[in-house]
Symmetry: C2
């Protein structure tokens, strides 16, 4: 029995791109409704706040209005949040080839699971909204383990939960250090996808780790699995 | 200058009814997707959890699955939450006559504000989704004041925020003790709407408080203001 572990964000789903578009629309609406900044000023400020507090923090718009007005503006916060979520959920879908690849892996007899840095219910929510959760036997999140990837314990716990030996498993993700190197250090195989690394960076990785597969698009997984 | 203060839930919006329908659909979906209870068992359990933790608690489905399985089931929690919110926001609208009444009051020169027991951003969210927030100069919530209605301080703080004397203001709400008596105790006028009290209960109130107006439907406000 072999198990393929996937990262979610920017591996199965184009999360960063949807989030970026949703943030742009939310800022636009907030500026139109009284936030006294230009779009560029407000968007830059929001990105600074996200960089400072992390993307899983759920009070970005609270901090934004507090920074601008000296105290929170609940109307603008509500408007920003509603707009952000409506746009994000309207856009949320898997990368075009994700479903084909998941179906291919199931027909080949692989078991599938997810290892994700994030909040448990939020990550399930993404998969449930897209009906992707039927493909995966387990979702292991950093929130429930109490440790983020690339900590080896999250990978070890995932292997235990799936009752599989590391050498019979592969970690697929878009971040080299967090996903792939994390998995490799736990004894798993590693496939890097959507990494957006330069040719030189990829060459360097191949020199150091000759067993890591690097692909541009998730559709290429079928050539290796 | 006269100010009319409104409660939101079950006064401007049919909140309890929408929430009930949304909970029914959510429980239905959870049972269909593996919650090992009948609909009636699960719905009864959910209502017990809501009674215990209050309707503003945001982990009802977490507690529900933990009670049933001994630990949380994140897939069912996510499914329940998505369904609940989708249905609730699909149904959310003001009582049929709410807009007519708000427009009437504005044309009569009244200033309008909200005094609500609830979370600040969640209450703004309801008004913003319905574009009702344009009618109101201020929303005062129990969360920001740190005290729930009928505590006199929340009414006093609302009067300060609107810069109006109590005798020039009226509190409109669906709960006699919480909204109307609370307002009366702060020196405001009081109008009870949608109370669903029996004729005897209403008679009793009229005997004790001869200045309280009691109406069935928000549309009758126009007869008094």
């Amino acid at each position: 029995m072999k198990v393929v572990f996937f990262d979610i964000d920017d591996t199965l789903l184009d999360t960063s791109n949807f989030a970026k578009l949703a943030r742009e629309v939310a800022i636009n609406i907030m500026v139109e409704n009284g936030l006294p900044l230009t779009f560029d000023e407000a968007y830059t400020l929001l990105n600074e706040i996200i960089a400072q507090h992390g993307s899983n923090y759920d009070q970005h718009f609270n901090v934004l209005t507090k920074t601008v007005f000296g105290k929170e503006n609940p109307m603008l916060i509500a408007l920003g949040m509603i707009t952000y979520h409506n746009v994000k959920f309207a856009l949320l879908r898997p990368f075009p080839k994700t479903l084909d690849v998941l179906i291919h892996l199931k027909t080949k007899g692989y078991k599938l699971a997810v290892i994700s840095n994030g909040k448990t219910i939020k990550q399930w929510e993404k998969l449930v909204r897209l009906n992707l959760h039927h493909f995966f036997d387990e979702i292991i999140t950093s929130q429930e383990v109490g440790l983020d990837k690339p900590n080896i314990r999250i990978f070890e716990q995932a292997l235990e939960r799936m009752n599989v030996k590391a050498e019979n498993s592969i970690m697929v993700g878009n971040k080299f250090d967090v996903d792939v190197l994390g998995g490799i250090n736990a004894g798993m195989g590693g496939i890097l996808v959507n990494s957006k690394l330069s040719k030189e960076e990829i060459k360097k990785i191949h020199l150091e780790y000759d067993d890591i597969v690097i692909i541009d698009n998730i559709s290429e997984l079928v050539d290796y699995l």
